[in-house]
């Protein structure tokens, strides 16, 4: 079933990549040219690792749209594997396999991360609650999530008799796809991304609605009044909180001058005060707005109204069991990582450590392959650690705070977050015009730092 989600995502990704702005992700001649140029570029820059970056740079040079899915895999293929194959592979197969590979990688990451996140959540909650949490399976219960996963897959798959069968089956897949698709433009490190879309942030914001539709579908198809309640709450909540999130996006887009997640991070290079959270006071406020709204966006406490177990039994997934429930579960954890990673990209400097001497590791044209590799790994791990830390914060909040009521949730969104974020958008834009991107509210620039 999750395979179906992967396929669907792959399919939609195809649409994006096959967007033949570069008229031929398929054109053999161009592929060869790209390969040559990538080799050239990487030689010229002395970079052995950053194939993707080279390919992208090349693509920019040639005036083509660089944002093709899995371009780094493509480059890898073109440089390392293809020349040594005794036969030619049809390019459509190549593209399809590349895209599926990208999807599978993202999917694999989500799975591995979700296993860890579930364990983290249980451990953190346990320690918050003065208990130990899972201790039996594996050291400190590390393998507990795997055991749980096996349990989920082995459970009986129940579809209520009066449920709308096709929609009931489709809903979890759609929800999961909605989350999975948003991973497409998400970086995992410098140039380590499935597809660096030009419209990355816009894509993230737009595709989020697919998840809402999936949730509505689940709640409606279950034919259960509690599910319906959960559905209506979800729809209200997610649609409302998309707005402050969107405004936060816009403010950062204005500062970075790009919607590409890679470029937004690239714009925050330098000392940690160049991170957008410290760029100007308005962005600081917006980052808080975003963090609150993102909690609501992925239905985490204190905004877990859609699945408020004391009120709605289990909300929109009351009737789900087995692996279908597992998919909802997985998408919830994936969404947690997703919003955290987007927060890291937007406000917390992406993969930059905030210390230029560390950031520069492997970045200069003269650095050795080892140094570039180290730099690459460092950035990837910095990025993922920052995101996981924000996931930890979400867990922390969840196990500390009570749940708000529906009207309070709406009040917070429309009467607090929305005006605040609008003011901050205007303020941040004006600040950006006045001071530019000097960071730390412009103080270092004033002090001549």
């Amino acid at each position: 079933m999750s395979a179906a989600g992967v396929l669907l995502t792959g399919f939609l990704l195809l649409g994006q990549t096959a967007d033949p702005a570069a008229p031929a992700s398929g054109d053999a001649a161009l592929a060869v040219a790209a390969q040559e140029a990538a080799a050239e570029a990487s030689m010229a820059q002395g970079e052995s690792v950053d194939i993707a970056g080279a390919a992208r740079a090349l693509a920019r040079e040639r005036g083509t749209n660089a944002d093709q899915g899995g371009i780094w895999i493509e480059a890898l293929w073109n440089q390392v594997i293809d020349p040594y194959l005794p036969f030619t592979v049809p390019e459509w197969l190549l593209v399809a396999v590349t895209l599926l590979l990208v999807c599978a990688l993202v999917f694999g990451f989500i799975n591995v991360y979700a296993l860890f996140a579930v364990w983290l959540e249980r451990k953190v909650s346990a320690h918050i609650q003065c208990r130990l949490g899972p201790m039996e399976v594996g050291p400190h219960g590390l393998l507990q999530s795997i055991a749980d996963g096996i349990k989920l897959t082995a459970k009986e798959d129940i579809i209520p008799r009066l449920a709308d069968r096709p929609l009931f089956i489709l809903a979890p897949i759609l929800v999961f796809t909605g989350v999975l698709m948003r991973f497409v433009p998400l970086p995992f490190g410098q140039n380590l991304t499935a597809s660096d879309l030009d419209l990355g942030l816009f894509f993230v914001a737009a595709v989020g609605s697919v998840e809402v539709i999936g949730v509505i579908m689940a709640g409606w198809a279950s034919n259960n009044k509690w599910s319906l309640f959960g559905t209506i709450r979800t729809a209200t909540q997610m649609v409302s909180y998309e707005i402050p999130i969107g405004i936060a996006f816009v403010a950062v887009i204005v500062s970075a001058g790009s919607m590409s997640l890679q470029e937004i991070v690239a714009a925050q290079r330098g000392w940690f005060f160049h991170w957008y959270v410290l760029e100007n006071p308005f962005l600081t406020v917006l980052s808080i707005v975003y963090l609150i709204a993102s909690l609501a966006e992925c239905k985490r406490a204190p905004f877990d109204l859609p699945e408020a177990e004391s009120e709605l039994v289990c909300g929109f997934h009351t009737e789900y069991s087995g692996m279908r429930f597992g998919l909802f579960f997985l998408s919830e954890y994936a969404a947690m990582y997703l919003v955290s990673a987007v927060a890291v990209v937007l406000f917390f400097g992406g993969w930059w450590t905030g210390l230029p001497f560390l950031d520069d590791l492997g970045m200069s044209p003269t650095s050795s392959p080892i140094a570039s590799l180290l730099g690459f790994l460092l950035k990837a791990s910095v990025f993922v650690s920052k995101a996981v830390f924000l996931v930890f914060v979400q867990v922390w909040v969840r196990w500390t705070l009570p749940r708000v009521r529906l009207d309070q949730m709406m009040h917070l969104c429309w009467k607090v977050l929305l005006p605040v974020s609008l003011v901050c958008l205007v303020g941040s834009t004006l600040w950006h015009l006045a001071c530019g991107g000097s960071g730390l509210y412009g103080l270092p620039a004033l002090l001549g730092f």
Binding site: P20, P23, A24, D27, P90, E91, W92
Partner: protein
């Protein structure tokens, strides 16, 4: 290189008369792309016709709106396709569709509000039932 399945689809389309489409040929010389303006126009025409059918056949106001959205979408597709293949600046077609989407959103919200009102007073949203002018 063309897989059989797609070849089959092409045959189907060629029976519809899309064969020998100048645009497709012209594009093919540059991009080896067999997809041209006509393909989009066909899709658009099909969806437009379906939209009309939905509007005529169905009596539920919300379903009528759905038919309307189909028609608007097919029109939007035409604009973008013409923008790409005919117009001097391909952005212009996109701009029109962009406005179209926005207006569709406004229209949908207003129509739904009216439907809600009809439902409140008549307790039905079958358009045939809403005959009276008052209340």
């Amino acid at each position: 290189m063309t897989p059989g399945l797609f070849q089959g689809l092409q045959v189907v389309l060629s029976t519809l008369g899309a064969e020998g489409v100048p645009a497709a040929n012209a594009a093919a010389t540059v991009l080896e792309s067999s997809i041209g303006l006509h393909h989009y126009l066909v899709v658009s025409a099909l969806v437009f016709g379906i939209g009309i059918m939905v509007i005529i056949i169905r009596r539920n106001a919300i379903v009528l709106l759905m038919g309307l959205e189909l028609i608007l979408n097919s029109a939007g597709l035409n604009f973008v396709a013409f923008g790409k293949y005919v117009a001097a600046d391909r952005i212009d077609g996109q701009m029109v569709t962009l406005f179209l989407i926005v207006i569709a959103a406004a229209e949908a919200s207003l129509a739904l509000a009216i439907i809600l009102n009809i439902f409140n007073s008549l307790n039905t949203i079958e358009v045939d039932e809403a005959k009276s002018l008052k209340g």
